[in-house]
């Protein structure tokens, strides 16, 4: 449940630290959840790869609100986190510091999965 203007920690090594959600892709947008792609503006960044103030796409990877799966289980993380994506939807960084939940088993996220650890 990540609404507009929410801050997300970026958990890959693209250089960005904090990003703010400014819009949603693919839905009528009141809130986004794990696995949704959002439009973000990078607020804080370290390094040269990504600059603060640019707009990017990102996929939400962790959220504090208990995430309900159809098999009945609930998962919650300690923070709201995202991974920056390029315009085509592929992750920019090459290391992801996060435990991905089973939502990312789809072939769409194959590259993301290969970069990180997974939670079953």
């Amino acid at each position: 449940m990540i609404p507009k203007n929410a801050f997300l920690r970026i958990v890959d090594n693209s250089g960005a630290r904090l990003a703010q959600v400014i819009g949603f892709y693919g839905q009528q947008g009141r809130a986004a959840s794990i696995g949704d792609v959002v439009k973000v503006v990078v607020k804080e960044a370290r390094g040269e790869k990504v600059e603060a103030g640019t707009m990017r796409k990102a996929v939400i990877v962790e959220q504090k609100f208990p995430f309900h799966r159809k098999n009945g289980s609930h998962i919650q993380y300690l923070r709201n986190a995202a991974v920056l994506l390029s315009e085509k939807g592929q992750p920019i960084g090459n290391r992801v510091r996060s435990l991905l939940c089973p939502e990312f088993n789809k072939p769409r996220w194959a590259k993301l999965r290969s970069l990180s650890k997974r939670l079953f």
């Binding site: 208990p66 289980s73 435990l99």
Partner: protein, 164 residues
């Protein structure tokens, strides 16, 4: 599908129950119900909370080390599916559970044997200290006799009333 163990109380978590919490350092905690989840949030140590299995095993109240627990341990090598193996495993599970139950019962009995002696000692001490609270059997009988008389008198009176 796996039946997990609750991190706090060590009970089994069946599908559809409980919450899985992932910390920022990627450690996963599974809880069977909100009671365990809330205790965790309060930063309680399960080894000090009396109703958890962790406490009981540590305090020696329950069978902690036994060969029968080896069967449930998680092995990281996946086994290739083999129908006969599955059948044998199912039968083995039944037998092992029965053996484990017997061993746990024996452990409990052993633990309670000391309790019997302690109880006997406590009773003796109580008897010596508080003998004055106990009435002698003869005195009890005399009291009973006293209680009976008025009842007999009352029935005699009622009997006369009925006759009239």
């Amino acid at each position: 599908m796996r039946v997990e163990k609750c991190w706090f109380c060590s009970s089994s978590i069946y599908p559809g129950h409980g919450i899985t919490f992932v910390r920022n350092d990627a450690t996963v905690f599974r809880f069977c119900r909100s009671k365990c989840h809330r205790n965790f949030k309060m930063k309680r140590n399960p080894r000090k909370v009396r109703w958890t299995k962790a406490y009981r095993k540590l305090a020696g109240k329950e069978l902690a080390e036994d060969a029968t627990f080896e069967m449930e341990k998680q092995r990281n090598r996946p086994e290739k599916y083999n129908r006969e193996l599955v059948g044998k495993t199912l039968k083995a599970i039944e037998k092992v559970s029965a053996i484990r139950q017997k061993r746990q019962d024996r452990f409990y009995e052993k633990r309670m044997q000391c309790a019997k002696k302690q109880q006997l000692q406590a009773d003796k001490v109580e008897l010596e200290k508080e003998v004055h609270l106990i009435k002698a059997p003869a005195a009890l009988r005399a009291e009973k006799e006293k209680l009976k008389e008025p009842v007999r008198f009352a029935t005699a009176v009622n009997g006369d009333a009925m006759e009239e």
